[in-house]
């Protein structure tokens, strides 16, 4: 039985293996009888061969290293930015409290404010149990400077021992 010439789609489906066994047999039979379609098949086979040829898309040898360095830089960058933000918020809070306690006479506040301030003092004293006697003598300024220093050291330790090792640069290949 002679069928029509094979069209482009049938040819491609045939090469992709996207047709049923029966259709496949029909195509094969037609190809045996028809030179024109054999030529078409041959040219498609050339196209497929060209498409399957591995292109010379070569990334440099140090590509992997560069990517890792970049992610490392970005991670450290965002972390440092985060830490910087925390630090500034902390510093601002400390400064505000400090100014309030230095220039505003807590004693002249209303009863509610005084209770709040007392509660705050109690908390501060509880936090610094070993320094309790010193605290009662030293002005609050001193206390907050200590807090500031502790904050600094804390941030440094956090960065040095927790965050930095996590992003240790990878050894070169």
């Amino acid at each position: 039985m002679m069928m029509n010439h094979l069209n482009d789609d049938t040819m491609q489906d045939y090469l992709d293996g996207n047709i049923s066994a029966r259709e496949r047999e029909e195509v094969r039979q037609h190809l045996e009888e028809c030179e024109q379609c054999r030529d078409l098949l041959a040219s498609y086979q050339d196209v497929f061969a060209a498409l399957e040829r591995e292109p010379d898309f070569e990334l440099p040898k140090n590509f992997t290293r560069k990517v890792i360095r970049q992610t490392h830089k970005r991670a450290i960058g965002s972390l440092q930015f985060g830490l910087l933000q925390i630090f500034f918020i902390l510093a601002a809070a400390i400064a505000v409290i400090n100014v309030v306690l230095t220039y505003v006479q807590v004693d002249t506040f209303t009863a509610t404010a005084k209770t709040t301030a007392d509660a705050f003092k109690d908390l501060a004293q509880q936090l610094g149990v070993p320094m309790q006697s010193a605290l009662t003598k030293i002005h609050f300024n001193g206390f907050f400077i200590v807090i500031l220093l502790v904050g600094f050291v804390g941030l440094y330790l956090l960065d040095r021992f927790l965050l930095q090792p996590r992003f240790k640069p990878v050894a070169d290949q």
Binding site: Y44, L51, E52, P169
Partner: protein, 188 residues
Amino acid sequence: MDFEEKQLVQRVLAGEAKAFREFIDRYKRLVAHIVFRMVANFSDREDVCQDVFVKAYENLQGFQFQSKLSTWLARIAYNTCVNYLAKKRPPLLEDRQEADVTVESLAADIETPYDDAADSDVSRLLHAQVQALPVLYRTIVTLFHLEGMKYAEIGHILALPDGTVKSYLFRARKMLREKLVVLQEDVL
């Protein structure tokens, strides 16, 4: 779902630097295939490839294992290239001109008459013609023929229906076949 793939992702997420290196080495061929096919500008290709991996690293937390890792990464690569091309409209034109020039110049370069020995030359020239196809076409033929992906997988990466992927693929191959005929006539 691939167990090995899941382990690799978990190790990268745990911050294991060696795992991320493995990840890059494993998928850089796939990423290069997509980026080099889509980005014509030689000097930008490597940067775009780097961007793809940086984005993948930063978004890996959100990978839900609902597709293969390669599909997910290919999608990032494709979208990164689309963004890059959108920012670089004029070079797209350049890209086409460049491609049109090569059709004639490459064919003209052949001195040997076409015979069986020159067959591989035609295949090589045709290979160069892939870059002259429209961006979407050359991306599809690359994913299909070099990555061995199915229509559905390619459709997922390019956000296209399977049927569209198939019809673009067929059209691309038809265009290449027509170019092949021209090349063969020129060298005869």
